[in-house]
């Protein structure tokens, strides 16, 4: 068991609080972050599924893209700022309503995924978008967006603040007692809320499959927000270990593992992120490849696997029933909610049908695996009734 050097690691605003809470700190995306607290990954995972888990995701990349000279015409200004970002991504940003959040993908010219990100239209300011990108890719992402903006818009980083995620079935009850009004948000909606004279941006989103929120606040206010949430018995701090097992059970792909610059949105099972309007315009990077793949010309697709025996980790070979290599595991581990090993990986379409019997190679042994529909554990996002 190797230990890691703390050298050259960035710290998050709540670093000292994590240590005081018993967090076991590890290097992650260039930051020192808690992988778990005293109770361990399994207990933290189950707590989040049953109550409310509090995650520090301050290593991620929140930012604001704002028009340099908004006209004040809300629709026109939104269309302008959306037109800056859209050439880089496959999502319909123009069509966002105020306060609406959308999951989208930054693409390269070949249709490969440079990053997955959240983009939201400000509910207050015309011509302003709220963007959250991944930690490991944020420098490149921000540079691309700033370059696309030129002098038409300004990209303001907010990754010196604290970004917390409160996830789980009790998250809404807890958070509405701290930030009244958040319960009005539906899944993938966001807005600014006030606590002790400070603004906290709350987005009803997350990456655990549970209902929950992501909260951005200034670094100096992070401890106050953390303590306000931890004061509730329904909340426990949760580390990166459980964050990973929760998102894997939710069947959500992770950048740098299941997604990279060779993988297209269609291969990754993220066809929903290629918005209808953009498909019709075919005006996004790699549209040629992506639209062809959407019509069925695919060499590989992402699947979920239930694995018998030892967990099949990232890099494990996927074999057909006869033992021929057909693909590779990109994320794998143990699913605490299911009590068995699960994995995400890529295989050619003929092997992707749920129920297909495959094998995975773990430590040179072939173990049985079965293709299953994802998510492995049903999502419980809060969707408002359509009015």
């Amino acid at each position: 068991m190797a230990s890691s050097s703390a050298q050259d690691l960035k710290t998050v605003p709540l670093h000292e609080r994590h240590l005081a809470l018993g967090g076991r700190m590890v290097p992650f995306g260039g930051y020192s972050l808690p992988v778990q607290y005293a109770t361990g990954i399994m207990a933290e995972h189950k707590w989040t599924r049953e109550h409310a888990g509090l995650f520090d995701v301050s290593h991620m990349g929140p930012a604001f893209l704002q028009l340099t000279t908004p006209t004040g015409d809300a629709e026109a200004d939104h269309a302008t700022v959306a037109s800056i970002l859209e050439p880089l991504i496959c999502g319909d940003i123009t069509g966002l309503k105020p306060g609406q959040v959308r999951y989208t993908l930054l693409l390269n010219e070949g249709g490969g995924i440079i990053d997955d990100l959240m983009v939201a239209r400000s509910p207050l300011y015309p011509g302003s978008l709220y963007i959250v990108v991944n930690a490991a890719t944020k420098e490149n992402d921000f540079a691309r967006i700033a370059q696309a903006a030129g002098n038409r818009a300004k990209l303001t980083r907010a990754d010196d603040g604290a970004l917390l995620a409160l996830q789980g079935p009790e998250a809404v009850a807890v958070l509405s007692s701290v930030l009244p009004g958040v319960e009005e948000l539906g899944f993938m909606e966001y807005g600014p809320f006030q606590l002790q004279g400070q603004t906290v941006i709350a987005s009803r989103s997350g990456y655990t499959g549970e209902d929950g929120f992501e909260l951005l606040c200034p670094a100096a206010f992070a401890t106050t927000l953390l303590e306000a949430l931890l004061a509730d018995d329904r909340v426990k701090p949760i580390g990166l270990g459980a964050r990973d097992s929760l998102r894997l059970e939710a069947g959500l792909p992770l950048y740098g593992h299941d997604l990279d610059e060779t993988v297209s949105p269609i291969e990754a099972g993220l066809g929903f992120a290629v918005s209808k309007r953009r498909r019709e315009l075919a005006d996004f990077p790699g549209a040629g490849r992506i639209l062809k793949e959407r019509d069925g010309a695919l060499s590989r697709v992402r699947v979920g696997l239930i694995v018998e025996g030892a967990p099949a980790r990232e890099g494990a070979e996927i074999l057909d029933a006869e033992g021929n290599p057909v693909g590779v595991v990109t994320s794998g581990g143990f699913a605490p909610s299911l009590g068995k090993a699960i994995a995400l990986g890529f295989v050619p379409p003929p092997y992707a049908e749920p129920g297909t019997g495959l094998q995975v190679k773990v430590r040179n042994r072939a173990q049985a695996a079965e293709v299953v529909a994802t998510p492995f554990v049903a999502h419980r996002y809060f969707r408002k009734a359509k009015s």
Partner: protein, 121 residues
């Protein structure tokens, strides 16, 4: 009967010319919740330092090395149904395998309890 330790956090409890191998309470705590244990087959010849078993936590797989050379004579099959025994009782019910020690002088080169304890401070 004596118990010796490796710097990699395996223990071996020596009874005559047989050793019972497992991981220390410190190691199980570092690994966290253990969800799967891959044990060697009975009859397998191991050299000191060979990979003998693998314990998997939710997060990762960790190799367990043979503390001495010898032949595996028995494995703890209870771990296949209940891998968490390694967490709850690492130095009793959570043992992993027994080994017929081929060179007793290798035992003398392992750490005693005090030296091992110093490593984990």
């Amino acid at each position: 009967m004596t118990t010796k330790f490796t710097p990699d956090h395996e223990y071996i409890r020596v009874e005559g010319s047989t050793g019972i191998v497992g991981i220390t309470p410190y190691a199980q705590e570092q690994l966290g919740d253990i969800v799967f244990v891959d044990l060697p087959t009975v009859g397998k010849e191991l050299k000191k330092g060979d990979e003998a078993a693998v314990v998997e936590s939710v997060k990762a797989a960790s190799e367990i090395y043979a503390p001495v050379s010898g032949t595996v004579t028995e494995i703890n099959s209870a771990l296949s149904g209940e891998p968490g025994l390694v967490n709850s009782a690492p130095d009793s019910d959570g043992w992993m395998f027994k080994i017929a020690i081929s060179d007793m002088s290798e035992i003398d080169k392992l750490l005693d309890a005090d030296s091992y304890h110093e490593l984990t401070l």
